[in-house]
Point group: C4
Chain length 247, copies 4
């Protein structure tokens, strides 16, 4: 249907497909979380974002918001009568953008991200609870860390650039920011964390979940998978009294 | 087949579809649990209920009971010879309504629910066992709580109404009622709990499972997913010595 | 293909289908475990049994052994050249019957079972390890127990008969037998356990797994699911210091 | 498409298929891990190997490297314009062989393996962490051990040969080697471990994962499943204070 309309690698198609995968992983149950993809190849200023409050595993590509960077909504699923709308919804349903839209936009604007993922992964939440008195999560000497990017500030441009992959003996450091009652109020502290931790490609939100981004959708997906693997392992290590950072 | 007969959003189709999903989640294994949906859009007095004792993941839409509120059985899968009956069953099989039928009806009659879900989720059972001396389960300051409805008693009508969503810092309180040898004997205490806890959209049953309802099937599904997520997280928090209600 | 040949409810088709399901549940990984179904409706003396050593999730209905009770092999997958054989196997592959064949036959002969399931479920193995000094596993006051049959010895015939379902407050008691180096050497102790525990529809094997049977394939499946649910819950309860039998 | 081109049992098809299965098992998330299959039946000197850095669950059979033993790369996915390339990748993408290629080749050359599997299974990593001061993982008296091969050195040829299956009371011993910053630097210690432990069909890599091989792809798959089952069980036993080797 609408997948044929957009093609298999169109951002709207991929958001719909990945939301199904993430639902099965328990990352976006109960309509939590969301995905956003920038059209890096064709229209690098255009970003597609999943709508709010819809069953993530049932999204059709026609239901995305389209935003022009740095942040102008170009199109909502409400605009176009011909769009295939989610069968669960009443005819007069008004789609709303995700409350985390400004957070996604921060990743695009501050880091030139190609895609942003937000999940309520229990591994992320537990990591922030086990270390409730800490503002950083650190872990080293696990092979999976090598799936993450080595990021550095380019002194000339001031931009964060990927210069390779992290090494086995490197310490992955993820900032943990405190949750706020309204998701959009996270924007400022998320931006501060992004600036303060140029080596991080993700930010944990206490008692809430995680934001992960990457240079394109597949890298964002890989980083999210690798970090979730590491957080899951970290919780098991902690429960078995094994230090997360090897001395 | 019979999905074509009813259409993809017919209550009978959705019960069949959601039972498969719930089976895969481990919520209705061993024929436990069940789902009921009210035909909110077309016949708001008519409720569809899954039959008892059938493999929940193999139900066809033709196998549902149809009940007129407040509680008259209009149709059973035994009535109609042309119905497509479950292939596993002998020709003379007599379908029986779920023992939890009066509990589902209580949610419809007391709360104007659009759908009711009953599962034997191990997270629900464990939550009632870890707090075996308590009659309430409480949890606060987790983002996923925001997926639950903010409910209030309308002073004029006396009815419980949804006035928004719970906030991050709100405390979700679910009543826990004691199990009884016969499921129908839970009806009275379930009704008492529903009346006593106007802010709750679910009731835990000790050593048994949970009842969750919502204003329509998708909301009931979201509430059930969000509550199960919270119960699973609560058990992990408890095992790690983390308080469920933040002071 | 061969499912069309046999029809969707033929024992050979159902063994193939259920092995896929059980593989996904982690019950028959690494070619462990197996399923056998008696053709209760059409040829009550004929039993179909999965072969040994084959990837359980890739079995075709053509690959079953056919046994006439009490125990004569009528047909092996080696007999018939026209059978669709598993694509993984060399042309000259000689199928072997499961080592647990005599154990399945014991359930048919001693209990008139309609189907037998053997899994290496980790929940079953852990239950026998946590209670390594016990020869019985007992659990009470969990709703899921009601999915199990109430069995009684008929004084006239001496046969074990299903007289209803277990009650919530009943204690499920499963015998635990010691494992032996060769699976067929379990036969005698399994038979003794079956005779000694007329109320049980399953036998645990220490450090090995479980045998479950029922009056037909769907009941055996339900009993297996319910028992595995209870064993999984029991391990969690034990780890949280909660007694398995309520006083 | 390309599955039709190669046929369902071609090594390239099977790598693609098994990578999907392994992804769902959490063994190769985040592009970690990999599979290699030797064309035992038709071209026993030819080995197919998955490429590096690609989403393992999205590999097409056209994307494999082809290597002639003992180690000459015959073909890369970059060579052939007509190959169906992974849709996620830019047109000028240069495929790279897995960093674990020399480790796979070691298994082929030292053990005449028919297939090699490398995963980042958390059970494998946890087993090396729980026993961080040990260079061997040992476990006995669990039925699933019987899925593993009994291996012996043939005194005449000096080659390791499969002489049967392990017994229930046998002790499975897997060497644990220390991880290195670069995966190819594991080659020497892996080879030493393979030589030193002729009875093992797998090697654990500390804080990294596991290498498993077998006489053909299906045996390698079964050994990998059985070992992962045993490692998962071992962690649970350890957490419950149960000795892994029965005295």
């Amino acid at each position: 249907m609408s997948e044929e309309k957009y093609g298999p690698n169109h951002p709207a198609t991929l958001i719909s497909e990945l939301c199904k995968l993430f639902y099965n992983n328990g990352w976006v149950t109960g309509t939590g979380g969301g995905i956003s993809i920038r059209d890096v190849e064709n229209q690098p200023n255009i970003v597609y974002i999943a709508p709010s409050g819809i069953q993530k595993e049932r999204l059709s590509p026609d239901e995305m918001f389209v935003v022009e960077l740095p942040g102008k909504i170009l199109q909502t699923p409400n605009d176009d009568e011909s769009r295939k709308r989610n069968l669960d919804l009443p005819d007069n349903y008004q789609y709303k953008p995700l409350a985390c839209t400004p957070l996604f936009l921060s990743c695009y604007n501050l880091r030139d991200a190609g895609a942003c993922i937000h999940t309520h992964s229990q591994n992320a939440v537990m990591a922030t609870l086990i270390f409730e008195d800490k503002v950083e999560f650190s872990m080293s000497h696990i092979e999976q860390i090598k799936a993450l990017p080595q990021l550095e500030v380019n002194r000339e441009t001031g931009k964060v650039e990927k210069v390779g992959s992290m090494q086995f003996f490197d310490t992955m450091v993820l900032p943990i920011i405190e949750n706020t009652p309204h998701e959009e109020d996270l924007t400022e502290t998320l931006q501060e964390a992004i600036v303060k931790y140029p080596g991080a490609t993700a930010v944990l939100v206490r008692r809430h979940g995680i934001y992960v981004w990457g240079e394109n959708v597949w890298k964002a997906k890989v980083y999210n998978e690798a970090i979730d693997y590491l957080l899951e392992l970290a919780i098991k290590m902690h429960q078995n009294g094994i230090a997360l950072v090897k001395k």
